[in-house]
Symmetry: T
Subunit: 151 residues, 12 copies
């Protein structure tokens, strides 16, 4: 049976593509989920995507994912910099999590340079637009041993 | 003619695989360069790899790359956290640069959480071992428009 | 058709007037909403008031307001000092927002002196009790060009 | 009629005992609630236990408790260190609250050393596992004058 | 006899409208004083306006105002962030003072985020251009009980 | 033979009850020692109480306790915040130590929020007056396995 | 000919005694100058007293004092904590200066704990009300060798 | 019967005059005690002088002084900057205490600029050599109402 | 008609040469003004020199200079490190300003390392004694295009 | 024989003029060296110019300069803010060094405001483009007594 | 007559070897004193060893050592990081002191990285176990001219 | 075969003895190497000495030393405080390293108090001039078990 992974989007990411296209581009969250799904299926895994503006609901989703997912690609949005609760959830569920960001958070305001989440993730990918999600899937699959070194 | 990109390794990365294998694994820098080369060629680009322990030589290499490369995948090693000079070089040469790290720098000592380099790069990838290099190549190619969205 | 603006109250503001009247006075949130409504209608605009203790719901409300409101008068309560998510929402929706506070936050504990919200608002009004809401409405209307200079 | 007190658990505490038993032990939240209930009844008070991963719902629960409870034993989990909103709720409702923690937060990462909640509580108990809850009940009852000095 | 209030402008505000109109607009200080005067008179109070670039003279003016004014609307300009002396004057004279700013100081350089003055004022209004002055007058009058709640 | 535990009081605690009763109450240190002794004996352990204003003597007492005590309930008073030497003693002697405080140190001056001692103790109890000592005894006994969960 | 010393008062000290008598007492600046004059004359020196709210004028007065005074007793008021200019003046004129304060600045807000002036003065006297001035005169005279040790 | 005051010297002050005379002068502690005694007796009060290098003994002496002294002139030496315990003692005993220093601590290393003791004293006198002790006696007597204003 | 530039000296610079010659040398402000005048005239521009110890007057002078001067060479003295008001004036008047200092401020106390003024000036020259003024004139003239590159 | 001075350029300055001309202008390093040479020769001194991207080579060059040069005009580029080693070299060789910068470092990112080099130089010149080099030569010559005051 | 030096051990060092041997080894303080004595005698000097847990007694011992010792090898233990009093004693007695530590304090918690003592010692030796004491003796003897360079 | 150890000197140490002899003494690096060689040979080990001003070359030398040396005595000079790269090299090569300094770095500027290198070394010796090198050799040999305790 195919492995399944969770693609989780934090606060305000539901607005992608429909607002401020000059900043965030015209790619919608739906489009990203679709491309990510194709990308994942080509590598033999299924994707379930979820989004919430609620820190509490994101915690619920992550806790439930522990029962079905092999790993998580997570864009925590603004909660990246403040949520110890999400950090604790990731520590508790024991799933491998890859933190990703659309924009290069290290090139923005200084309060966006620090991630409360990254220290409990496998790693962090930041700055490559919607491509960050695809890179995150590859990074997670490599960690799961599903993406071998090229020969 | 095929595009060329520079794969640049900073201080101490020449030791990879031959020392402390329990920490950094048994993959050598040579092996990474080889895998990265295969990975790049499959995407239609050529790779040139260089390594130096000298901040000054890394600057020289980057300056020269401006004359032949389409972009750079750069693991600045320990200079990540201190080198304003490398930051200035990247700003000056105008090439797209992807900063990558083997280990998850956000999960290590606090002085490794800040990157002087990342703010002038496209983005940063950190924590996926040798896979970080392959992800970095994909990120760079996507930025260059050579890696289209999956349909 | 009359313009509409959103009057948004953050956490704990539902307790106004019914508890600790010696501190916050005996004016209830309902009373404030009523006075603010009268005040707004006299200036030719309609008011919709909402309150929530959930950061996530406040984000939802603000996102939705982008579809009907001309602007927002927002008392973010305690989320003022910690919520990057609400800040991002305000940036994303593009509506003019006036941040207001009942108490003078600059005269309280030092962690209340900094607002994560204010830098993306038109301005901030702090310290005038329920009158802060009415001043906030005037400030918003002036910004919208609905309150001309006196001649 | 017997006094009633609220036993309130913050984010991720629903996972207790079922995950990472080597870290948090095999005692579940249900078990703690049961033991705490017995402990309280022996001292003549009834206990109602609630848990939520939502900061907003915790605020709601605390606000409602003001209508029926004599006091609160509260483990705010990760919100301890960031939630000014919960602090404001506790100030507003006027109930005596005892802050408790399973682990010794003063022996963990430095961002866990500071509590935004403790300054508005009667006191704080930290580090005694599930026993912290029972100690918290005793501390609350003593504050309420229900636990006299031994003669 | 009509109440009188002082409208006090700090350093560089005499330049308003005549220089950098693309930044500060074309409204002059004279115009603001005139509009503010009309606005105040409509509410039954008289206004006296003063401006100085001297911290010492601003102190003198405030000290003297204690003998004739019912309150002060004060734009301390750059002294906002550095003048403990003006803070002490406001504490000493016992008049209600409303601090106002043309620009949103919370959205500018970080050294402008902190006000030495605000903790001893009734409140602060920041970011609404010349309208800030009119809002400040209303805030002061409400504090003085001259602006009742709308019925 | 009954277990023995040390009840150790730091600087200025000898003044309890005889001075500033409006602040610290009228309960003397002798009274606390007596109540704590009764409380402990009811749980089958003996108590020895000591007090000193000397950091050096507190170190001596703790070092000696390693030869006879099963654990320590320790109110380090003002040395809580400054004494690395007491911290080192607790680390060295290997006895379980519970840190307790009469007042809620987290609600006082900021220099009282940090404990140099707590990171090497089992846990910390703060804010419950003389009851803190009794809670501390229970916490220590539970740690020693002498206070079972209620059935 | 009798020595002369300058008694210099900084901003807001002209208000002494006439405002907020419950805080600063009913002693006026004139009264202090008179008592200080008597106190000085009994020790054989003449006093000239000056006050200004202007930092610039205080600098002028100190510069001029270099031509006639043997030393200065200086209460810099709020400029204590911010004025590098007054510090430079004191360094430049080479007169011995005693810094004095009516209130105990070390027991007030933290921004009043640091003096920019004290490092270039002989010493600082703080907290003794109008008596601080008389103590300052004695301290200055002792420094000038005019107040011998008691035999 | 004559009032009595305690003259208390902290660590290393017993070395005065016998070592490093080029720095601290040739006046011994004995000489200072003698001069201070004469100075006090001329004002009608008796002096008892004590010195200790032990923080604990200084606490003991201050606690005992509460039974016989009307006030304390205290040079806490190096403990000024670190001893919360001595601060607590002074708060507890309720005697008026004047903090004095031989050298100008505000002109020395930055760690000597902050006093943990001063906030609970009447005031602080710093920088006037042995004269600081005599000024301290006068300051204490004035506080006790034994040194009237000059007429 | 010849261009005119303002040579502006801040607080305490009127003392130059007459006091502390071993520190600041024997060159007076008058001498500097004379040499600077000759230097400027040789380059075809006229100089007007002003000095004040008043921050307010320095603001007035700069504001007025906007009506007649082509640029300013400004030694802000101690106001360099504290005056946001002077910074705002320079921003407002739009004249090119060169900040100069006699001493090397970067080699002095750390509070002199930061300039509030420099970020709104063309540049800063620091450390060359009276020669700093002449260098400042050349720097300003080069900025104004009056000092061509040597051929 | 003519005096000789070293003109030393740090990392990335070899790129001047050929890249990012819209930022740094079209003047090349070669051009600057030529203009500086002419400027120096007109004042009777010879110039040797060197550039390196290596911190180590810059140290070597400075050490060697001690054998032939009378002084140094040094643009340390990015090493300004991090190199304690270059600071130590300048201290060790005893030559007078003038630190210069093309851009106004005080108006850029905050990490560029602090110079590790300036405290051991005669002074610093910052912000005047290629003219900074010529001003630096004049500043050095004035320090060497080769540029007399204008008569 | 043979020179004598003091070997002084601070708090908790009396526990060496008898407790936590897996951490500190099985070498006791007595053994160290014996080895150090042999080591010193071979170099022609006598050793007196003392230990105390009291900061005050350590001060007393150091003060007395000034009457008989030629120098001190001092392990201040935990007082290293907090004791300004011991620092002042070392400054006052004028004896050469070598600070030594068993463990590498620079590799432990950050509060152990700073020494209040080292700045007034000849130097510091840290990290070599009991060998640190012998190295300390050699370092002291070299300073005293008793250990010549090898030929 | 005799053991070999590397004696490594960082930037500017090649200048020893030939410049600023009043500061660093007249002992040259050559002399130190000779004395250290004799000292080592007497203890049965051979010494190879190297010096470089290049951080990169120091890394190269350390990496190579891993193939032949038993340990390193390293004076990193100014790189002590900034080089994470050298720290990483020491971690990677696994050789025991002793950090030594000629001067007492803890008594100099505060930026010299922190060592980036020491946490990965056995220990640190600082302040004993050329003797520091000999002490460093002994410390290294003791660590290697080549210097037994004296019997």
């Amino acid at each position: 049976m195919a492995k399944e992974i969770l693609l989780l989007h934090g606060p305000n990411l539901n607005l992608l593509g429909t607002r401020e296209p000059e900043v965030y581009g015209r790619v919608t969250l739906e489009q990203i989920n679709q491309w990510a799904g194709i990308h994942a299926r080509r590598r033999g895994v299924e994707l379930r995507a979820e989004q919430s503006n609620y820190e509490g609901l994101l915690i619920d989703i992550l806790q439930t994912a522990a029962t079905w997912a092999s790993g998580v690609v997570f864009n925590p949005g603004a909660y990246t910099h403040t949520s110890i609760a999400l950090r604790d959830t990731i520590s508790a569920i024991g799933l491998p999590v890859v933190e990703i960001h659309l924009s290069n958070i290290h090139a923005r305001e200084s309060f966006r340079h620090v991630s409360m989440i990254a220290p409990v993730c496998i790693g962090q990918i930041s700055g490559f637009g919607w491509q960050s999600y695809l890179l995150g899937i590859d990074a997670l699959l490599a960690h799961l041993g599903l993406l071998p070194a090229p020969e």
